[in-house]
């Protein structure tokens, strides 16, 4: 039986081997999304701690979801930016501005679908989805 080597016995080594290849290429995207989400969190009004964590998780998740298509669009068709450079920037922008974008987009969509009268003001909604 082969003797276990010192490197394979370490839990740290295992983590690096398992997580490195998976997270490594997308680390800057995750960094950008978290930074954008944290900036958006600073701009919104305080609610409960749990609601704030949910807000941050939601914004980061959305940023991660939409980064790849948006970055491919930017790099492939529109501006021609290198994809490695575009992805973190797109993730940051989506994370930072997503809430403001949806704030403007949702009323427009609801008006077009007929759920809201044109010009009707939406109710103010806090971070956790509750009404003020």
């Amino acid at each position: 039986m082969a003797e276990p080597s010192s490197s394979s016995s370490g839990l740290l080594y295992l983590f690096v081997v398992l997580l490195g290849p998976v997270v490594g290429p997308h680390a800057f995207v995750l960094f950008g999304a978290t930074l954008g989400g944290a900036t958006a969190l600073a701009k919104t009004r305080p609610t409960g701690r749990f609601g704030d964590i949910l807000f941050l998780a939601r914004v980061i998740g959305i940023a991660l979801l939409f980064t790849m298509p948006a970055a491919h669009f930017l790099s492939g068709t529109f501006i021609g930016l290198p994809i490695d450079f575009a992805m973190p920037c797109v993730a940051y922008t989506i994370g930072w501005k997503w809430d403001q974008l949806t704030e403007k987009a949702w009323p427009w969509i609801l008006e077009r679908l007929g759920f809201r009268k044109p010009g009707q003001k939406p109710e103010e909604v806090t971070r956790d989805g509750g009404h003020e």
């Binding site: 370490g10 740290l12 983590f15 690096v16 997580l19 490195g20 997270v23 490594g24 680390a27 960094f31 978290t34 930074l35 944290a38 900036t39 969190l41 600073a42 701009k43 919104t44 009004r45 305080p46 609610t47 701690r49 704030d52 941050l56």
Partner: protein
């Protein structure tokens, strides 16, 4: 020894991220933008620092550990200023 330093730095970085998060949630749109962006950056870098040894194989050094300790100490000392919410001097509408 190296593993212990990594774990200690991860604990410090997570504490630092938590203190930044607590301050970020006290901010709103009346906060100075520079303060918002600075704390958002510190929160993100702290999280990255916490997982760096396991994800990027960037190990902690005594110097990085000392620096994280100093910043954490500064956060702890200035926590009293944030007890009643955002400090007045960080408001953009302080007039």
């Amino acid at each position: 020894m190296n593993d212990a330093i990594d774990v200690l730095q991860a604990i410090e970085a997570l504490c630092l991220a938590y203190t930044c998060f607590c301050r970020l949630v006290k901010m709103d749109d009346t906060t100075l933008p520079a303060i918002q962006h600075t704390f958002a950056l510190m929160f993100t870098v702290s999280l990255a620092m916490a997982f760096a040894p396991w994800v990027f194989a960037m190990h902690a050094t005594p110097m990085s550990l000392g620096f994280a300790s100093a910043v954490l100490l500064m956060q702890a000392v200035t926590a009293t200023l944030w007890r009643d919410g955002l400090p007045h001097c960080y408001r953009s509408d302080k007039g």
